[in-house]
C-alpha cells in the first residue's frame, strides 16, 4: 500500500509536491510525485484539503434543508446533486413526481451537464496551454447560468429541484431563452472542435496519454465518460432510467482508445447528445400543469390554499418548524452526473432528520485510478490526466 509517508525518493529520484495549491490540480488536490527526470515513477494523491463535512451536517438538518447542502458538494453540478438527493428521499417516502416536473428536472440537469462539460473542456484546454478555448467555453456557460438564474433566481447554487418536484413554475419567456441557446450551441461546439480536434499539438498531447484498460477501469469502479471512453457503454440514464429518461431518445457515446483524447471526444459528443435531450424535454414540458407531487404534510401547500384551508396552514407550519418524518428505512438512488455515477443513500430512523446521508461521488472513486493513469508518464501528462478524470474537489472530500 502506497501512502503519503512511503514516498521518500530513492537516490536517483526526486519527490515533487504538486499541490494543494497548484494551477492545474483543479482545486486543492495534492499529489506526491516521485520523479526520475521528468518521468513519474510513483504518484500518490492526498485528499482532504477541502473536507467540509457536508455528509455529517446533513444529519443535523431536516430533509428539505439538506438540499442546499447538496448544491455545494459538486459545485459544477448542483442540480444533479439536488436531483439525486430528492430522488432518494422520494423513494424513501414513496412519492410520485408529476410528469411535468420530471421533464423540467431532465431539462435542467442536462443543461447542467453541458455547463459542467464546458468547464471541464475549458480547464482541460488551459491545462494543455490552449488558452482561448477556456474563455470560449465560459462564454457559453454564461448563457446556461443565465437560464438557471431565470428559473431559480440563482446562477450556481440553485436548489431548484425540491422533494416531490421543482421549486418554481418555469418563468415567462423560458422557451425562447432555451431555444435560443439550443440554436446557438451546436455551432459553438463546432468552434471548439475546430480549434482542438484536428490540432496536431492537441492530438500529440492527448492521444495515447493516460491509458487504462476496460478491465482495470471496471475493477476500480470508474464510471462516467472516463469509463465510456474505455469502450464500456455504461450510463445510468440508460441502465436504470430515472426521472422519465426512458422516454428520451439519445445515444451513449463511447470510444475504445481509453486515452485522454478519447475522453475528450466522448465528452464533446455528450454535449451534443445533451442538447438533443434538452430539445426533447423542452417540447414535452406543457405550459400548464403541476410541478409538485400531491402529498400533504410533505410538500408545502400553495399560498392560495393556506389562506382558505385551515389544514393547509397547519401543514405549512409543521413542515417549516419540524419537517416531515419518513418511516424508518433506507433508500439508494444513483443518477448519471457529468462525472459518472452519482449515488445517494438516505437512511431514516423515523425522525424529521435523516439518520445518515451518504453520497457515492464519482470524482472520489474515479480519482483512485489516477496513479494508474500517470505512473510512467511525464509531468506534463499528469496535468492532462487529472484534467480528463474531471474531478471536483468539493465532491471528492464532501
Amino acid at each position: 500500500m502506497t501512502t503519503v509517508e512511503t514516498v521518500t525518493g530513492a537516490a536517483k529520484t526526486m519527490v515533487l509536491n504538486m499541490g494543494p495549491q497548484h494551477p492545474s490540480t483543479h482545486g486543492v488536490l495534492r499529489i506526491l510525485l516521485e520523479l526520475d527526470g521528468e518521468t513519474v515513477v510513483k504518484a500518490v494523491p492526498d485528499l482532504g484539503y477541502l473536507h467540509t463535512g457536508i455528509e455529517k451536517s446533513c444529519e443535523d438538518k431536516t430533509y428539505s434543508q439538506v438540499i442546499t447542502l447538496t448544491d455545494r458538494m459538486d459545485y459544477l453540478n448542483p442540480l444533479g446533486n439536488n436531483l439525486v438527493y430528492c430522488l432518494a428521499v422520494e423513494k424513501l417516502l414513496g412519492l410520485e413526481v408529476p410528469k411535468r416536473a420530471q421533464y423540467i428536472r431532465v431539462m435542467m440537469v442536462e443543461l447542467q451537464r453541458i455547463s459542467s462539460h464546458l468547464v471541464w473542456l475549458g480547464t482541460h484546454a488551459i491545462d494543455l496551454g490552449a488558452m482561448s478555448v477556456f474563455l470560449y467555453c465560459f462564454r457559453e456557460r454564461e448563457e446556461i447560468l443565465n437560464i438557471f438564474e431565470m428559473f431559480a433566481g440563482q446562477r450556481m447554487m440553485t436548489s431548484y429541484i425540491r422533494i416531490g418536484g421543482v421549486a418554481l413554475d418555469p418563468p415567462a419567456g423560458w422557451r425562447q431563452a432555451v431555444d435560443k441557446f439550443l440554436r446557438m450551441m451546436p455551432s459553438r461546439v463546432d468552434e471548439y472542435e475546430t480549434l482542438l480536434t484536428q490540432n496536431p499539438i492537441w492530438i500529440g498531447r492527448t492521444k495515447g496519454v493516460g491509458y487504462i484498460s476496460p478491465e482495470d477501469a471496471i475493477a476500480l469502479s470508474m464510471t462516467g465518460p472516463t469509463l465510456r471512453a474505455a469502450g464500456v457503454a455504461y450510463d445510468n440514464r440508460k441502465v436504470f432510467p430515472y426521472s422519465s429518461y426512458g422516454e428520451f431518445k439519445f445515444e451513449v457515446p463511447t470510444r475504445t482508445e481509453s486515452d485522454c483524447y478519447a475522453r475528450y471526444l466522448v465528452r464533446v459528443a455528450e454535449i451534443r447528445e445533451s442538447l438533443k435531450i434538452v430539445r426533447q424535454a423542452m417540447e414535452r414540458i406543457l405550459d400548464e400543469g403541476p410541478i409538485k407531487a400531491e402529498a400533504p404534510g410533505i410538500i408545502p401547500p400553495q399560498r392560495e390554499k393556506m389562506k382558505t384551508e385551515m389544514e393547509a396552514l397547519i401543514y405549512h407550519f409543521k413542515i417549516f418548524t419540524e419537517g416531515f418524518s419518513p418511516k424508518p428505512g433506507d433508500a439508494f438512488v444513483s443518477v448519471e452526473s457529468p462525472r459518472g455515477e452519482l449515488g445517494c443513500f438516505v437512511a431514516s430512523d423515523g425522525s424529521p432528520k435523516p439518520l445518515r446521508v451518504h453520497f457515492r461521488s464519482p470524482s472520489f472513486i474515479n480519482l483512485q485510478a489516477l496513479p494508474k493513469l500517470i505512473e510512467g508518464q511525464l509531468i506534463a501528462d499528469v496535468v492532462a490526466c487529472i484534467g480528463t478524470i474531471d474531478i471536483v474537489l468539493g465532491e471528492v472530500d464532501r
Binding site: 526526486m14 509536491n17 494543455l128 482561448s132 509531468i379
Partner: protein, 409 residues
C-alpha cells in the same frame, strides 16, 4: 569642453544612441504587453485592459510601477549571487542583442556627422554570428535562475529550458545558412542589400521565396528560442507553476519579463531582415506612388483616433485621444509636404510594419495553440527542424553552385 566633444564625437554619438535605443526598446516592450493583452483579449472575445487610461493605454505604466513597488522577498536557501545575477544576465543579453540590428539604410546628417540608425558599426562583418552568440548566452539567465532558486519547479523549468534552447539553437543557426550563402556575408546590412539586387522585383526579390523552408525552420526555432507558446515549456504555468521564475518577484521578475519581450522583438527583426527584405519596400522601386503609403495609413488612422476620442467615455480620454489623433494626422501630412522626410521614412516604416506583423503572429499563436510536451518538443527539434534546415543548406548550395556553373551564359 567643445574640443573634447569634437574629438570624441563618435563615442558621444554612440552613447546617445544607446540611451535612445534603450528608452525606445523599453517603451516598446511595455506597449507590447498592452498590445498582446489587447489582441489576445479580442481573440478571446474580451475587452482586455481598459480601465487605466483611455483604452488601457496607461496600463503598462501602472504595471511597471507595480513591479517597482512590490515587496521583493528572497527565498531561504538560494544561492544569493547567482540568484541576483540570473535576471540581470537575461535582461542585459536580451538588450545587447538589439544593438546589432540596423534600423535604416541612410544616415541622418547632424552636426556634421553621418548618424546611422542602429548602434553597431556599418561594417560589422560578423553581424549575425555576434547576434547568435549573444542570444545563445541567454540560456544562462534561465538555467541559472532555475538552479539558484533552490526549489523544485524552477529547477525543472531551468533544466527544460537549457535543453530546449540548446537544441533549437542548432536548428536556428542552420536555418539561416541558406540566407548567408545567398548574400555571401554575415553583415545584416549586406543581407538586406542582397535582397535588393533587382529593385524592380520588389517583394519577389526577397529571400522568403527561395528560402521558404529555411524561414519555416527559422521562425519555429526562434519561437522555441524565445520560450513562447507553443514552446513555453520552461514556464508552463499549468505544469510548473511559473517555471524558472517561480521564486522571483517584483522587479527581478520584471527583468525576466522584459528580457522575454525584448528577445521577441529581436527575433521579429531578424525574421524581417533575413527573409522579408528588412527595410525594403514590397513594391518595385519604380512605383514611387507607394511612397505615400505611410501617409495614406497614418492620416485615416489619425482621423479615426480623433473620432473615437471625442466620443470616449472619460474626460481624460476625450482630451488625450484627439490630441494623439491630431499628432498622427499631422505626421501623415508632414510626410506629404516634405518629400525628403518622406523618402527617409520609407525604410524604417517598412521595417517597423514587418516587425509589427511578426509580433502580431506571436500573439496570435498564443491565442490559438496548445503547448507541446517536453519529449515532443525535443523530437520536433532534433528529428524534424534540424534535418530540414540541413536539407535546406544543401539544396541552396547546389542551386548556387549550379547558377555559378551554368547561369553565367
Amino acid at each position: 569642453m567643445r574640443a573634447l566633444l569634437t574629438t570624441n564625437a563618435e563615442l558621444v554619438i554612440t552613447i546617445v544612441k544607446i540611451a535612445l535605443l534603450l528608452f525606445i526598446v523599453l517603451t516598446v516592450n511595455a506597449y507590447l504587453t498592452w498590445f498582446e493583452r489587447k489582441v489576445v483579449a479580442h481573440i478571446q472575445s474580451r475587452w482586455g485592459p481598459h480601465r487605466v487610461g483611455p483604452h488601457g493605454l496607461l496600463q503598462p505604466l501602472a504595471d511597471g510601477l507595480k513591479f517597482l513597488f512590490k515587496e521583493d522577498p528572497t527565498p531561504a536557501g538560494v544561492d544569493k549571487f547567482v540568484y541576483f545575477l540570473a535576471p540581470l544576465l537575461a535582461l542585459a543579453l536580451a538588450l545587447t542583442s538589439i544593438a546589432i540590428i540596423p534600423f535604416g539604410p541612410d544616415p541622418i546628417r547632424l552636426f556634421g556627422h553621418d548618424i546611422y540608425l542602429g548602434i553597431a558599426p556599418l561594417n560589422l562583418n560578423i553581424g549575425i554570428l555576434a547576434l547568435f552568440a549573444i542570444t545563445a548566452l541567454g540560456v544562462y539567465g534561465v538555467a541559472l535562475a532555475g538552479w539558484s532558486s533552490n526549489s523544485k519547479y524552477p529547477l525543472l523549468g531551468g533544466l527544460r529550458s537549457s535543453a530546449q534552447m540548446i537544441s533549437y539553437e542548432l536548428a536556428l543557426t542552420m536555418s539561416v545558412v541558406g540566407v548567408l550563402l545567398m548574400a555571401g556575408s554575415f553583415n545584416l546590412r549586406d543581407i538586406i542589400n542582397a535582397q535588393a539586387r533587382h529593385p524592380e522585383r520588389g517583394i519577389l526579390g526577397w529571400n522568403i521565396w527561395p528560402q521558404i523552408l529555411g524561414f519555416f525552420c527559422f521562425f519555429t526555432a526562434a519561437v522555441a528560442e524565445t520560450n513562447r507558446v507553443p514552446f513555453d515549456l520552461p514556464e508552463a504555468e499549468s505544469e510548473l507553476v511559473a517555471g524558472f521564475h517561480t521564486e522571483y518577484a517584483s522587479f527581478k521578475f520584471a527583468m525576466f519579463f522584459i528580457a522575454e519581450y525584448t528577445s521577441m522583438i529581436t527575433v521579429s527583426c531578424l525574421c524581417t531582415i533575413m527573409f522579408f527584405g528588412g527595410w525594403l519596400s514590397p513594391f518595385p522601386a519604380s512605383w514611387t506612388v507607394t511612397h505615400y503609403l505611410p501617409s495614406v495609413i497614418l492620416i485615416p488612422f489619425g482621423l479615426w483616433v480623433i473620432m473615437d476620442g471625442v466620443r470616449y467615455e472619460t474626460i481624460f480620454g476625450r482630451l488625450v485621444l484627439p490630441a494623439m489623433g491630431t499628432a498622427i494626422t499631422a505626421l501623415g501630412l508632414v510626410l506629404i509636404v516634405f518629400p525628403q522626410v518622406n523618402a527617409f521614412i520609407q525604410a524604417p516604416f517598412w521595417l517597423l510594419s514587418k516587425i509589427l506583423t511578426f509580433l502580431f503572429v506571436y500573439v496570435w499563436m498564443r491565442g490559438t495553440l496548445p503547448r507541446f510536451r517536453y519529449d515532443q518538443l525535443m523530437a520536433f527539434g532534433w528529428k524534424l527542424l534540424l534535418p530540414l534546415s540541413i536539407v535546406n543548406v544543401i539544396l541552396t548550395s547546389f542551386v548556387i553552385l549550379a547558377k555559378m556553373q551554368w547561369g553565367a551564359q
